[in-house]
Symmetry: C2
Subunit: 195 residues, 2 copies
Amino acid sequence: MARTQGSHSDITGPRIRKAALGLFARHGYAAVSMRQIAKDVGVQAGALYNYTPDKQSLLFRLMQDHMQDLLAAYGELEKPADAETALRRFVGFHIRFHMERPDEVFIAYMELRNLTPENFSEIEGLRRAYEDSLEAILQDGQKSGLFSVADTKIAILAVIAMLNGVMTWYRAGGRLSLDEVEQVYWDMVRRAVTA
Amino acid sequence: MARTQGSHSDITGPRIRKAALGLFARHGYAAVSMRQIAKDVGVQAGALYNYTPDKQSLLFRLMQDHMQDLLAAYGELEKPADAETALRRFVGFHIRFHMERPDEVFIAYMELRNLTPENFSEIEGLRRAYEDSLEAILQDGQKSGLFSVADTKIAILAVIAMLNGVMTWYRAGGRLSLDEVEQVYWDMVRRAVTA
DNA sequence: GTCTATATGTGGATAGAC
DNA sequence: GTCTATCCACATATAGAC
């Protein structure tokens, strides 16, 4: 039986999220209107509310999906026994995963303050779970005497902050290949934590 | 002669900037209305326009003042001849200067996309001037064989990104003193760039 | 310099026809 | 499921009285 004219539930939902993703990343959540998103998708503003109860949920779902994807992808990596190899793999994974999703990363970092308190807690929990995976590597390396950092908690945040810096300047087709970027960062991270 | 009743040009201007600073940092430029700022100051919204032609100028001036303060303060530091001491001083300066101005720093990083193109270029120029001062230190250290980094441009951005990470977690009265934080970061930066 | 009042536009979200 | 039409709150900015 033919679908009702103008009915596209299977494709409009993803298109809405994709449009919101791009617009939120470019202009910021607060600066983007539901009408802009609708226009990008090619529907009227009212139609968006068949897919999201409100604008906040749209933002939250984008961030939640991103963080869950991150944790799932990291979970599928094999974990080498030796800490240096594990850290190297973490650095490579982090850079590549984030480079492939610049909009999601940008939003996850910039729009935390636009989440409701409940939604914020949820995202914070996911972020911490990811940081814990790096902490495990650093502590393992310190036990074996391979690594040495003055403060593990700070080192985790410092390494992640350093790696996230890639997103602010790297552009495909630039001076360096992704392999080279990964190598340069790994070199600095390794030296920063090695005993 | 007595001032006109309700006239406070000498104090209202700074209060407006201070209120805007706090509100922009907490909620984001796009999410803050001129009415909110006015309420915070204790005047009506229309009165703000005696001090700023528009909301955009308010944002721009906050960012411009911050970057100019940063460059001026760094310019007044004495510059040790040896690169390691110079880098150590840079790290300490950067951490302390930024920790004392969390709102300004937050805005300078988060609200770049809400500047008009002309204003953006202006701020970008100031930011680059600051990065150049770190580049000079790293290149000096590499000439003397003290430092060794795979890519100087990346190293600059990596170091600054790492240091800026402090702002996301440090709170006065926490586990570590500012001296300790400075020491821990210096330790990582030094190792990351030392030959 | 600040106020009140207002012009003018846009925001999120909903109702009901198709 | 999407549309049109609309409610109502709030946005930036200005005008003119005091």
